[in-house]
Amino acid sequence: MKKLINTPDGVLADSLAGYAAAHPEVRVDPVNRIVYRATPKEAGKVALLSGGGSGHEPLHGGYVGLGMLDAAVAGEVFTSPTPDQVQEATKTVDTGAGVLHIVKNYTGDVMNFDMASELAAAEAGVQVETVVVADDVAVQDSLYTAGRRGVGTTVLLEKIVGAAAEEGRDLASVASLARRVNDAGRSMGMALTSCTVPAAGKPTFDLPDDQMEIGIGIHGEPGRHRQDLAPASEIAQLLVEPILADLDFTGAPVIAMLNGMGGSPLIELYLMYGEVAKLLSAAGVTVARPLVGNYITSLDMAGCSLTLLKADDEILKLWDAPVVTPGLRWGA
């Protein structure tokens, strides 16, 4: 295993320490592994809280700041945080207007956040609403599975709903916007290589030099199927087609994110976006806002994912609103 780390068990603590040193605009609680805004939100505004396993950087800690999250709770690599952590963050960020939990749909995440909101409501009287992001079209038979995974739409949702919370909307309307955004987002991912979980010390799965995995998530889990390596134009089809088959993206402005899994360089991500853009345009889909880069990653995995979000004028306006976070920044 080749990684810039000290020890496998220390990765999270050491990385958070570096994150704190690099970003004075956030405050890191190293004991509870929570990233907060250095300057908390004004009283009376709904707070946004997210979190999950680590290894997806910049998600979630990188999205704490004006216009996006109020706090992010970090679990161990690929392991959802515990209820105690979530409860602590929930109590801290509440300004009295309640807290929205943004939870990616994984059994562990859902259970831990559920326990936390039960605790927070019981102990501190904090009003909590939860949106569970579930946008991965690679998971097809939702009835016979834990349901669709929460992947790329999480990033877009945190941005859009973050802007709405900043406007001062109340918890119910922030939560219903969040659900609307989740319903309008779809993602599909692929991997050229497995990632290596530090504590495991070797790649999660073996992938021959001439093969790729299609339909992966963000935890190094193997995908839905494996096939021969293909040119970028074909890979783009494998991402675009299942998304467009799942939801009609024509007739609305679309936010498109071509996301890197952590080990693929920008030159390749732009190349992939070029192929995707051609297919979308041929399918009559209008990309109003493109985003290309590493936004929700899977450690050092090489590969990419595509997320499309069917937007409207309100969502675009919220998308364009100022955001000042380490991971996403514009307008201020």
């Binding site: 392991t79 515990t82 105690d84 831990n112 016979y144 834990a146 495991a200 998530g217 889990e221």
Partner: protein
């Protein structure tokens, strides 16, 4: 028979034994989780049980409910993932069921284990054949109850439970997962043991060993 034959010390030994087995199998459990999940089950369980043992070293358990509630809460607050709430809830329910006593009969222990299983099902909604820890836990409890209900000793019941848990674990191999991360793999999840069912079999191996096996 309602003889209080299982002592607090034996149950402490159970948990300490489980911790050792988990530590010894940390790499193996993670390998199983690599095949169908995200390669962390060994690290998760090891982190949690190490924390439990540290807590027990700091302050010895005073009663059964103290033992199991602290165990459950420690797991909930140190593990995360799916296994944290599931194993945590399991032990919390054991504590509630056994109360502030310092020993339990075989049937009391059986009833507590069943309360634990119910907690797991409430949290995770797993059913038989979903390829989860349920598939080792449920047959283990049936076997335990069968022996304990027909007058067997707790040690005999634990031994039967371990054998059933191991069989349940092995039976997860051909299954297509319908819960947890492995379900994302669809048909590709078949042919691999479930990591959680495997750690649950270790739990009953530890109980068997602690009660005299």
């Amino acid at each position: 028979m309602n003889v209080a034959e299982v002592s607090l010390d034996e149950l402490v030994a159970w948990l300490r034994g489980f911790q050792k087995l988990v530590a010894d199998n940390r790499v193996y459990l993670t390998e199983l989780d690599s095949a169908v999940g995200d390669a962390d089950h060994g690290a998760n369980m090891d982190r949690g049980m190490a924390a439990v043992v540290t807590k027990l070293d700091e302050a010895p358990a005073t009663a059964l409910d103290d033992l199991f509630k602290r165990t459950g809460m420690t797991l909930v607050s140190t593990v995360g993932g799916a296994s944290g709430p599931l194993y945590g809830t399991f032990f919390l329910r054991l504590g509630t069921s056994l109360g502030a006593s310092s020993a339990a009969s075989a049937t009391e222990l059986g009833a507590a284990l069943r309360a634990g299983l119910e907690g797991v099902v409430q949290r995770g909604k797993a059913e038989a054949g979903d390829k989860t820890m349920y598939d080792a836990l449920a047959p283990a409890l049936d076997a335990f109850d069968g022996v304990a209900g027909s007058g067997g000793s707790a040690a005999e019941a634990a031994h039967a439970a371990f054998e059933a848990a191991a069989a349940g674990r092995d039976a997860t191999a051909p299954l297509v997962a319908r819960k947890g991360r492995a379900s994302y793999l669809g048909e590709r999840s078949a042919g691999h043991l479930d990591p959680g069912a495997t750690s649950t079999a270790l739990l009953f191996q530890a109980l068997d060993e602690a009660l005299g096996g």
